[in-house]
Symmetry: D2
Subunit: 336 residues, 4 copies
């Protein structure tokens, strides 16, 4: 039985507590939060879980084996480092840290102490994303041409990070998983803030690779409609991943272009397109966080490396870091 | 009765011929095309219209008062210039020319000869776009924060221009109209080609302004799904323009953000959003090209300046030209 | 503080327990169920609630003031009657009883004992339905022409009742509320069973009134897609209520027909239609069951009559009863 | 070359003229209509086609080989009979006639004279419907459980027939084709008129068979939204045919129910459902009327029997006739 301590019971923490409370193999020992009312909520829901306003109490409790960090981004590094130094395994919310330097240090610390360090790239554990990965690994899509994602809604503004850190991070984590490591040559990001003194609420991020592949992510906290649509185009087939569709999240299109030696060059083109059947595969509908919690428990117990380890977290943070530099210079290309 | 000659009977030419044939106040006198079969098609549909494979015959026919040019972009300039020099009024398909230098010359020539020069920015004559303009002019949206458009589909590749010239041009023309002149400070464009020797089939264009306003256009000939969605966000209201919706093309959202002095800074933010009613206004459903044809006839007859005159065409071409420069340098910011 | 006992912790019971546990003014004292595992689930979630496999223990517990019955339809009558006889106020799931005779008896018993008897017509407490009621009461729709509802999905078959009792009951409850009492002249129902020994899994119910108004309900447990769409047509405006739409559940169409004295009788008609703006009003998004729980508590405490009292429940049951007769005779008209 | 005469140039006639004008193997010789302006429209579009206000001129013109009848339903019989008697082959719009007696007589007359008699059940020639037929014939759906169709919109009222004759006729024609002949045991129809002196504008038609199969058709000229959705449920798979979907008209669901011997009878049921992949097959996108026109020409030339011959037309008319009887008696079951 792995004893878990959860730091932060705000937006995401309750999901962490619920999943580790219900997982076989783990037990939630303690929850800390700076807000007393939130701790009362924990108590009313889970009378058996101890609560504290002092996270150090949790981090240094000998009964706690592993710590889940569900706090604002800027606090990820100090909390995770303190947890590792206290000998605890760590699962930290995305993005792993605010800057790559911090991510490096956490990886080193965890390695030296032989502790599990996992990043909560939740989408990686979603059945839809794993189905897409499976199709891509089987070569169904052919050569991958592009990844184009739109994540917009009228959203709660974060106070410490911009919209890229809040929303684009999901796509970076998904690509990191789908492409077996996300290593662009360069990135360019542009965006704007519309509230004085606040970070960017609209941003566009382009990732350039040493290949015809291109990735683009559009994020926006000021959209009146919610869109969660990702297009993945390949030379053989194409995928639309729409996370808002209840029953058709993943659609596989047997569609693409073919070269055609037409001579009627004035009006037609030699490139034609074909549109075949569409296929909507079913996939495992288990809650992503449940899958993730089970994997974290297993990795800790068996000393395995999770899909979303510190290295994966670092690669995502490095890109966000470069994106922020580009944002500050209005879209200047930043090489990685 | 204005006698019209139409050059080009490929994709768009037939719509031009049909609209000018049915318009009161105009008569289609002659159609030219390089392809004999297309001319036979004209003849079978309109036995009264003369046809020719030599556009010069049309340009120099004394019965022809005005010339409509519906040919590939690279031919717009020489054909339009020849027409103006022959004393004909000109309506030229979008984009007006391949480069801004050519657009300047056409404007000059038309002015010197006192001829009407109009650019076929079709969307500007669509009821939906005119309704949006009316709402914006009335201040319904408040300060405009962003214009974000997605135009993707599995498309016919153009042989002489990239996807920006084919699809993004629509958004530039719409913005040019909505904003009473499109004058960004700088643009940045990124894209890729996936067919050897062909222009970019995917591209992203960002327009920067000397204000919090930002514009972004995502275009793609390799998408398995067709999307034509434009979000226009303002401080008071927001609009979604979805051209594929049969009955709800324009939706007005009484939605936005408000600043909130909450002190619970750890988990919440001081910026909150509000979501009110949605309103789907009806508007004039007349075919845009019919409205445009009527306006062209009226402008020629009364010596008026059309909404989409040479200057509007030039501003759009200037931005495409800058976008192409940026594309060639992988997203480098190009100042206008 | 009203002490609540809940009988049945299957599909709907947990929602009842949660809402009465969280309501101010009530406390869940005890839950009974025939299944031990379900009671263990109650215990793990709410350590403070007593559980029992014997509903009589609950019904006769002096601490229990009111009983919520969330069990299969056939048990509603005996449980509710026993509860009333034990002096408890009663909130019973829809439909109130299996036959109207039973509903009558419950009403009488509650009246004699001066106890609150409320039926869980949940939809009546949904913000969307209350908004529609408000629009209808204000005369926005004009004369009401029809109510046409489709509720289909691949559904869990009930073992004791057919698909009308499971799904059409919602529409009857909604109409009962919207029309201030549902009093059709006659009903006709047709349907089929596709599993041997099981009740009808597809059914169509038509309600005839002494007016041009007509109501029709289509329900189906064998549909591959889920549909929850209700059209309400009036002489002035029309409403589409789509419960699956996250943000546009209620749409008001300024649409209808007008009589036109055209003389061209061969091809045209004298009846024309008009299609104006669409309006998507916002409404209270509070969970319906939360509103309902608060009302039940208030009615008990202040001796008020709830919107969905025994009489409302009875009218709905009477129609279901007539519908079942019609079903047995393949659509024969049954007068009420 | 088959010389065609078309009677009626109202709503549907222009499509007939266009398709027979463009078909290889036919030539449109003459068009008749009672309205002079419509004939002028024919002339402006097709200067080579002769026009007349007297249909007898057309019917007795020796150059005309075959007659297409696109006039109001009540005139189908006299016009088709006169055409057959004049020795012309006949293609008549749906429904074939107003009553079955008339359909019988036309079949007899055509047989005696050895003339082709075809009914314009357009949907039967649509690629989507032919794809569904192919899947059903291959046994993909298993035993067919139900056909459930909704055809509603804010529609032009017909002056001589009710909404069943206008809209439900499409579903009867589709079923007639899919089921290799539509032979219900009985029908029941209910509906209402909301304009004084006009036929029913809302109607519901149920078809009963000597099997678990049931068919239901909901039609409405007073709906603010347009719906064209048909569900076809089978024991193995289910189909949704949505004619308004541009790219996903036919969806095949690998979904259904399975019997499960669970003992937990209180809350669960022994019938469970399964939901597998969804498949969206492509199919021939040729305009249905083009396919139909080609078949009519071929049948006339080679003496073949079309898919939608007089017998098919008769079966559809017989059901409409019975439906009208049922409508008049408020849903009374009418046996066929």
């Amino acid at each position: 039985m792995l004893n878990i301590g959860v730091i932060g019971y705000g937006y995401w923490g309750p999901n962490m507590v619920r999943n580790f409370a219900e997982a076989s193999g783990s037990h939630v020992e303690m929850v800390s939060d700076l807000n007393r009312q939130r701790l009362e909520l924990v108590h009313s829901r889970y009378p058996g879980i101890r609560v504290t306003m002092d996270h150090r109490e949790l981090l240094h409790d000998p009964k706690v084996d592993a710590v889940v960090i569900a706090t604002p981004v800027s606090t990820h590094f100090p909390l995770a480092m303190e947890a590792l130094k206290a000998g605890k395994h760590v699962l930290v919310e995305k993005p792993m840290t605010a800057v790559s330097e911090e991510a490096y240090k956490l990886i080193e610390e965890a390695e030296q102490r032989n502790l599990t360090l996992m990043v909560d790239h939740t989408f990686v554990y979603m059945g839809a994303v794993r189905k897409i990965k499976q199709l891509m690994d089987a070569g169904e899509l052919g050569e991958i041409y592009y990844y184009d994602s739109t994540r917009v809604n009228l959203g709660l503004f974060q106070y410490d990070v911009n919209v890229l850190f809040d929303l684009a991070v999901h796509d970076l984590a998904i690509m990191e998983f789908l492409l077996d490591g996300l290593k662009p040559e360069a990135v360019s990001a542009a965006g704007k803030s519309h509230v004085v003194g606040r970070p960017e609420d609209i941003a566009y991020l382009t990732l350039f690779f040493n290949s015809p592949f291109i990735a683009h992510i559009s994020v926006n906290w000021l959209s009146p409609v919610k869109v969660r649509q990702t297009l993945i185009g390949g030379s053989k087939k194409m995928i639309v991943f729409n996370d808002l569709e209840p029953n058709e999240k993943v659609k596989v299109y047997d569609a693409g272009i073919t070269v055609n030696d037409s001579q009627d060059k004035i009006y037609q083109t030699m490139v034609e397109y074909r549109m075949g059947d569409i296929w909507v595969p079913q996939f495992d509908r288990t809650e992503a966080l449940k899958v993730e919690a089970a994997l974290f428990i297993k990795c800790v117990k068996e000393g395995l490396t999770p899909d979303t380890d510190g290295e994966a977290g670092l690669r995502v943070v490095s890109i966000l870091e470069a994106a922020n530099k580009s944002l500050a210079e209005q879209g200047k290309m930043i090489y990685l």
